[in-house]
């Protein structure tokens, strides 16, 4: 009994230390565009811009799992942002940053991270986001010969067993828009979701539309994009930066310039153009 109470006491003590109520730190303190001197930003590594993404890096956002080749949507966007900031491709370095690590507290070893990360207010408490560079719809993927593939509306999918990847906003979107009768299964990686679909452990995948198109074109040709949804809300992806980074304003300004000049549209057209073709689900 004595030992038990000591353990409890220790736990309680830890909680007194740890569970203290939080004081909200002020959010969104981005440096003005004034300090964005081309090629001379206060980057992690002097003189170079360090960009991060997860590994493996999937098409159509990256090609051949190699962010440095400039191929794929996010690779192209990153190099375009870098160019706007005064860093030619030779002055851009890539680093691998897992999704969880990208928002863990502590010093970051990248200047910004592009990893199809949706901007949401709760997340903005932990990190900075740039202005959005893409608005993604959600899509439903199912095996061609399945019942789910015949769905013409979101309510047709209510009783389907859904699967999503962890960390994606697809889960929230699926729960809010489809309102499934049982909760979706949540997998570690995109590959695991696909395996579960092939195995018949789930009947449909909910995923960002560009990913859905890649999956059906390359990874699971026996599957089809049933349709897309969420056109109204449209998830906005932004570059992720350390909380209160001095670079946030600069990166946002660069993205806005790319948008105004039509360059961003061109990149989007080149890598994500198929996204327009999928039928809409309501």
């Amino acid at each position: 009994m004595k030992r038990l109470s000591l353990t409890l006491l220790l736990l309680a003590a830890l909680c007194v230390v740890g569970c203290g109520s939080s004081d909200d730190s002020s959010s969104s303190a981005s440096a003005g565009a004034a300090s964005c001197k081309k090629g001379q930003l206060a980057t992690e590594k002097q003189g170079v811009l360090t960009v991060a993404t997860d590994k493996p890096a999937y098409p159509p956002y990256f090609e051949d799992d190699d962010p440095t080749n400039g191929e794929g949507f996010e690779s192209a966007v990153a190099y375009a942002i870098a160019k706007q900031l005064g860093y030619p491709p030779a002055k851009v370095e890539w680093t691998v940053e897992g999704f969880n690590a990208s928002f863990a507290p502590g010093p970051k070893d990248f200047d910004f991270d592009v990893n199809q990360i949706t901007i949401t207010p709760p997340r903005e408490k932990a990190v900075d986001f740039s202005a959005p560079y893409y608005k993604a719809n959600q899509a439903v993927v199912a095996l061609k010969d399945s019942d789910a593939a015949k769905a013409t509306s979101l309510s047709d999918l209510k009783d389907a067993k859904l699967g999503v990847q962890i960390g994606t906003s697809s889960l929230e979107e699926a729960e809010n828009e489809i309102e499934p009768s049982s909760r979706p299964e949540v997998f570690n990686t995109s590959n695991d979701v696909v395996q579960a679909l092939k195995n018949g452990q789930i009947e449909a995948i909910v995923v960002d539309l560009p990913t859905a198109l890649y999956l059906t074109a390359v990874q699971v040709p026996e599957a089809t994009v049933v349709g897309q949804f969420g056109a109204g809300s449209g998830e906005a992806w932004g570059a992720l930066l350390e909380k209160d980074s001095q670079l946030t304003g600069c990166v946002s300004a660069a993205i806005e310039e790319l948008e105004n000049s039509g360059e961003l549209e061109k990149i989007t057209q080149r890598w994500m153009s198929q996204a327009a073709g999928a039928p809409e689900l309501h």
Binding site: P105, A196, Q201
Partner: protein, 273 residues
């Protein structure tokens, strides 16, 4: 009326006891206080408190994580029952002496070697995704069932060895005596050897169950929304790690009581046999 010497001896004993307590209290204060100071004054502490020990996030996420934890509890209870049976069967096969049992004995050795030798997470993954891919009629494809089977297979291999050690630790004379009074081999095993063996290995057996109660979280890789997965989902939504701390507390809530039971079983009265 106690003698003076006795009174003096008792007084000295009390003084020693009080001194011991004072030293224990002081050293606890220094060590624990030092650790707390080190953590609380570290430059990253405010940020860590905000992202790992955020009370508001804890309050909001705890009910969801706790609800998901119920799935963990159900899985490990069923798995533990299966493990007790499978482990015993494997151990009995392995100690059987009959020559006819040789192929089964060989299988049991291979089973223990293989399933104890593969990382549990890998086993969960291979069985969870591999078995349904075979597309066999009547074989379950539910990830919860498959994950539970994977855990049961892995832990049964450990528990079989624990049983075997227990059975081997019962003195040979016990068996001989049982046979001498007219029991058959099976009866001797059932009524004389096993009861002693099982009582002896109860602490290491429960020790394996403590490990299993944490490893249930591995099933999350197959998709089911158990506590760790639920916590990860909220973590990714909020970019805040507090839900994972909430999940950790829930696992502790079952593993610490089990550990206390282990302590009691292995306590002073069991120490000398």
């Amino acid at each position: 009326m106690p003698s003076d010497r006795r009174l003096e001896r008792e007084a000295a004993k009390r003084r020693r006891h009080r001194r011991g307590q004072a030293i224990a209290a002081l050293s606890s204060l220094i060590v624990l206080g030092g650790l707390a100071t080190l953590i609380l004054t570290s430059p990253g502490w405010p940020e860590v408190r905000e992202t790992f020990f955020n009370w508001d996030v804890f309050k909001d996420s705890f009910p969801d994580v706790a609800k998901a934890f119920w799935l963990d509890v159900k899985i490990f209870i069923v798995a533990e029952l299966a493990i007790l049976v499978v482990g015993l069967v494997v151990a009995l096969v392995r100690i059987a002496r009959s020559p006819a049992m040789f192929p089964l004995r060989l299988l049991s050795v291979v089973y223990v070697d293989v399933f104890r030798g593969i990382p549990t997470i890998l086993l969960v993954f291979l069985i969870g995704f591999g078995v349904p891919a075979l597309r066999l009629e009547g074989v379950p494809s539910d990830p919860i069932v498959l994950g539970g089977i994977a855990l049961a297979l892995s832990y049964s291999a450990y528990v079989a060895e624990v049983y075997r050690a227990g059975i081997n630790s019962v003195h040979r004379g016990q068996r001989d005596a049982a046979l001498a009074v007219g029991l058959t081999e099976t009866q001797a095993l059932r009524h004389v050897i096993l009861p002693q063996a099982v009582r002896r290995v109860a602490p290491p057996l429960l020790n394996d169950f403590v490990a299993l109660q944490k490893d249930v979280a591995l099933i999350s890789i197959l998709g089911p929304l158990e506590a760790f997965r639920e916590a990860q989902i909220i973590e990714a939504q909020l970019f805040n790690f507090t839900p994972l701390v909430a999940a950790a507390l829930l696992y502790l809530a079952v593993t610490i009581p089990t550990a206390r039971i282990v302590d009691r079983l292995g306590g002073p009265e069991g120490a000398v046999r």
